[in-house]
Symmetry: none
Subunit: 121 residues, 4 copies
């Protein structure tokens, strides 16, 4: 089983449990975590990143609810099958974010080309 690197920003307004969710969703989307693969137990994850097991539990609950992971009591927690959906959803979310910002910027008079140029910097 992999030892997952979880990136946390304790200053962020985004709660810890949600940052953990995002980290794992990304690993799945990028393919670092593959279908059926086991992820660390609640306790292991908790001690390895220094947060309370309840916090990890909450993250895992959310991920399960989203269909990203499947947990089998007393066995462990595993990446669900059919994770392509997760990747697609992530892409859609990000594209949507960009669209919103682009819309705001065009209201301010910037053209799409202006924006692209500034992104490239």
């Amino acid at each position: 089983m992999k030892n997952l690197l979880i990136n946390l920003d304790y200053q962020s307004r985004v709660p810890i449990y949600e940052q953990i969710v995002n980290n794992i969703e990304n690993y799945v989307a990028v393919g670092i975590l593959k279908e059926k693969e086991q992820i660390p137990s609640i306790r292991d994850m908790a001690s390895s990143i220094g947060v309370n097991p309840n916090t990890i539990k909450k993250s895992y609950d959310i991920l399960e609810n989203k269909g990203i992971i499947t947990t089998i009591s007393t066995k462990g927690t595993f990446i669900s099958e059919n994770t392509k959906k997760a990747t697609k959803e992530k892409i859609d979310r990000e594209i949507n974010n960009i669209k919103k910002s682009v819309q705001e910027l065009t209201k301010l008079g910037l053209s799409l080309d202006d924006i692209i140029e500034r992104i490239k910097k």
Copy 2:
């Protein structure tokens, strides 16, 4: 004086007072609110959007601090002169948002051209 439409999302993690600040900053950046123009009093604003006056007070304080508005006691609250700074800040914020999303998407294997194509749709 305009009757400002303020867009609030009570589910958002962004506090109400900050959403109000953002709304007004955007109106200034886009030019809907112009320099020296008067904006509603705290009490009017509070009752028109159904929020506690203390919340509006906090928003106005922040806006004043940022130099976006100026309060002249017994006269009212007005958009400051020199609002170009507000526009610049907004552009920077949005460009930054886009950069973050682009970064996430390139991790998933999309090229900048892929992304641009999907934005245009």
Copy 3:
């Protein structure tokens, strides 16, 4: 605001938080709780039925996730609009349960009429 009667069975295998969810879902389905109506705060509910606030929070989170309630931070928790869906779902769930049992019983040789007769007793 109503003082909700919550029926709990501490011996049941169904966890407390889920029993609370079911209680409230039923009140909504039956029409005792109506759209937009405010329900007790987490703390009030917790103290009135003698469980930890975290347990209530979990129930409310699940209800929110299901779209039954809407919580507005610092304002309170409210029954969502569009709760007819909740009623319909509950009916479907119960009908489905019955169908499963009927299927099992017909495997054992009972006719639907046999079953109905025994239900009426």
Copy 4:
């Protein structure tokens, strides 16, 4: 000896050993397993359904306790004589389930006839 198909739901709150008990009870009730018939050994059953032998042991213990099966050491495990009790118990369980659901549905205003009609579909 039959190769028993055991239906397990690892997400269920019902423990595995109890699900196994239920599966076998049902096979007996329905007549798929007949009196005096031999059933798989603990180890065979364990490996064929991918479960720890201790779990199967617990299930068999319970079934023996209920009088559904009889273990003769060095010979194997067999369905007991007089299995009609199992059938009766199963029928009672299912009828009871239905009664509960009917009760819930009548709270929502459905008549028994409404319910029967929907079951028939």
